[in-house]
Symmetry: C2
């Protein structure tokens, strides 16, 4: 009986369920292959449009040459806000608006920054330095003190009896053996961020930090540093790689090495500024948002071309190409140009707080330079990661189909804390820290097609996410 | 009975064969995982060694600044041969030798190349031009003629009655919509290679060719061109992009547009030169060879830094790092720096002929610029392709694991004709044609770490191939 029933069940399966299953599979595959074909052709259109009539490079040229660098609180930052809003309007984005917030206002000051090296009474040698962002200045006559070179905070604290009254020179290089420059940066940047605090703890009178770069030249690289309330605030500056080597050589050869350091920087009261926002409103689920953005502020060096002029113009360009092709996906694509990533993250924090009631499906940031795209770094759960990865094939023709776990951006890190999936545009970063936060970060370092390909990659991804959801 | 035998057979399988099969699978997996572990650790060592104590950049600096560009037949090419041999000896390569051959000897000549634009009798405008390699020169007073602009050979032949006595201006751009610049180059380069032939067929007196680049600047790009025996030889020169645009605008606006073109180039008798060869001789099967190389000659413009100084120093560096780590694989790794890739391919042809009795398992060329590596392009049968692809994981950490079908290099194309698998180092080529064959191709355009990473990729691949065979 049992056996007969089994046979019957089997026959039923073969006759009824199996064909139905086959049909379902066929429909699924057919529909997948249809949507694959549609997205293939869409990606191809976006690529051709971007490469033949793209505007990312032209936009970056305008930003770099009509405005230049744009530190939070500066008049250039204010101009950049207006410029971005105007561009978004010109390209007919929806709901173009500024969202106001207050930002820190640190200024480098008008006196020339200087560090004069005095070794055994020989003629003084000028070292190329620049104040780190957030540092206090010195008195007009500067600080003159002997120098103590260290490679780490551990070494500093082990030598603390020698540190009192000295300028502490943090000279640990970014480790060359790290393949990805961002990793090398991560290994060394605590000297810049916390050097002044650690130096002050042992009685140091100033901190001088080897620039965060692997390029051997005479250009100092600035960047953010911080103080805390428990120790004295002391001035902190970056020194170029060549002069860090020169100073280190002088210290190893000479006995009486001192430096006179003059910085005229100061922190003024907070000033009003804004995030700049524009959208392509979704046709079916406008309340579901795919965010894409970069940061509009930069350090007060070079043009802020790669960091992050590139990410801003790529964000604008991504939506502009979609508009040019008349593409409106089901969900809303929102471009956000954040203010104050470099020295406060006020824009990112303000956005996350004031939009916490909205439904963000994903947030993507472009802030690793305008180099050739390689794919996306993705921070989310495994299911969403795999879903996003199924679209990697759309990026194969532009060699940007390498999707990896882990990624995002500083401006969207507060959204990540709310559990929103965050992604970062992955690019080829070997050259990034040659330019980063320095006078080297100028327009001519950005390549037109590399920049545009990054914008195209953003356009493809935001469109697919806004169409398919996540 | 049948059923009983089936059961017996099944039992036999389960008891005897199945465990054996499991054991085999285990051994295979264990041995694969052992060799995977070994190669992982080897790749890691090569990466660390290259990034921390690599010499590729230093070698390129020496080649560029102590020798400079090195066109076949020039004294610099002869110096580059000696320099390479000395470097291979210094790094203790095995069997370092020169293999002599004769090369073409085309020279640009000593008179300044010039093209003066005369539009309606206005003051003449100098256009930036340079002779194409292989072109005949003009008389000292130059050729003065009206100009006919065309986009293609088809257009030229359809206008042939207008072409007689004119300078034919081939102005079809490299198509921007091609994602890979090499493809765009391939779409436009027939104008440079055959422009003089096609122009002469319709009675043209000279050919002026839009430079093979997508960068808008005033630097002309040279490159090879050819004649045939059936039509008259006429002079042929490249014009910079900005001046191609200027000339085109003048032609569309003015009626009487003529150019006076002066070139002093000529072809001298062939001269002796050489390929430079060095090896790491295999420990078990020294007769089986993995070849890796680039070309030592360059055009007589810039430093020939990316094309192909980079490939040469990467070839030397790949073997040098292996030597530094004391690695000797089972089979022979042979470095070959070919002479005369640019205007004759004599080195590649000579090598393929004179080594046809040897057993080459694979030949790899690095000749797409010293940019960030992305993987390898591989031309071989599917079985070998899949075998090579199994090692792609070794390149994942340096983001160079994108192995694709199709690839090789001009110098090893004759080996490919003999059925030998050929591979090309794939790099990020978006910037390549900005520099290619022009004064833009200088040392400063090459990035130290990008260059070194390419050398590391070559080192890993040649070692694995020489150890595992193919």
């Amino acid at each position: 009986m049992l056996r007969y029933r089994t046979v019957l069940t089997f026959q039923f399966c073969m006759k009824k369920i199996f064909p139905l299953l086959l049909l379902c599979l066929y429909i699924r595959d057919y529909s997948f292959s249809q949507s694959k074909q549609m997205y293939d052709s869409l990606a191809r259109s976006l690529i051709t449009t971007g490469l033949t009539s793209g505007k990312a490079y032209e936009l970056l040229h305008e930003l770099c040459f009509s405005i230049g660098h744009r530190l939070s609180g500066s008049s250039q930052a204010a101009q950049a806000v207006e410029w971005s809003k105007n561009k978004m309007n010109e390209f007919q984005f929806d709901n173009v608006r500024l969202e106001s917030l207050f930002v820190p206002h640190w200024v480098r000051g008008n006196t020339e920054e200087a560090a004069m090296l005095n070794a055994n009474g020989e003629p003084q040698i000028p070292l190329t330095v620049c104040a780190l962002g957030g540092s206090i200045g010195t008195s007009p006559e500067g600080i003159t003190a002997a120098v103590l070179e260290v490679q780490s905070f551990e070494e500093l604290h082990s030598l603390q009896e020698k540190a009192k009254g000295k300028i502490i020179f943090f000279n640990r290089p970014m480790p060359k053996e790290k393949i990805m420059p961002f990793e090398a940066y991560g290994s060394a940047v605590n000297q810049r961020g916390s050097g002044a605090i650690e130096a002050a703890k042992v009685g140091g009178v100033a901190a001088l930090v080897r620039s965060m770069t692997m390029r051997r030249d005479d250009v100092p690289h600035t960047g953010s540093m911080s103080y805390n309330d428990t120790v004295k605030k002391i001035p902190s500056a970056a020194i170029s790689i060549l002069d860090a080597e020169l100073l280190s050589a002088a210290l190893s050869k000479e006995k009486n090495v001192s430096i006179n350091l003059k910085l005229s920087c100061e922190t003024l009261p907070d000033v009003p500024s804004a995030n700049v926002i524009g959208e392509i409103v979704g046709s079916e689920k406008p309340e579901e948002i795919i965010l894409v953005g970069g940061h509009l502020d930069s350090w007060d060096k070079g043009h802020g071309a790669h960091d992050d002029g590139a990410g801003c113009v790529q964000t604008i360009e991504a939506l502009r190409i979609l508009k040019q092709l008349g593409l409106q996906p089901k969900r809303t694509i929102r471009a956000v140009l954040f203010m104050n990533e470099e020295n406060g993250l006020r824009g990112g924090k303000h956005y996350a707080q004031s939009h916490s009631n909205e439904k963000h499906l994903a947030a993507i940031e472009a802030d690793a330079g305008g180099f050739s795209p390689r794919g996306f770094g993705i921070s989310t759960d495994s299911i969403r990661f795999e879903k996003i990865k199924t679209w990697a094939y759309l990026f194969a023709s532009i060699d940007a189909d390498n999707f990896k776990k882990g990624g995002g951006g500083a401006d969207i890190s507060e959204l990540a804390k709310q559990g929103i999936p965050v992604l970062g545009l992955r690019v080829d970063t070997q050259r990034y820290f040659d330019y980063h936060h320095s006078d080297n970060d100028t327009f001519d370092k950005v390549h037109e097609r590399e920049l545009e390909l990054g914008a195209i990659a953003l356009a493809i991804l935001v469109y697919v996410l806004a169409e398919e959801g996540l």
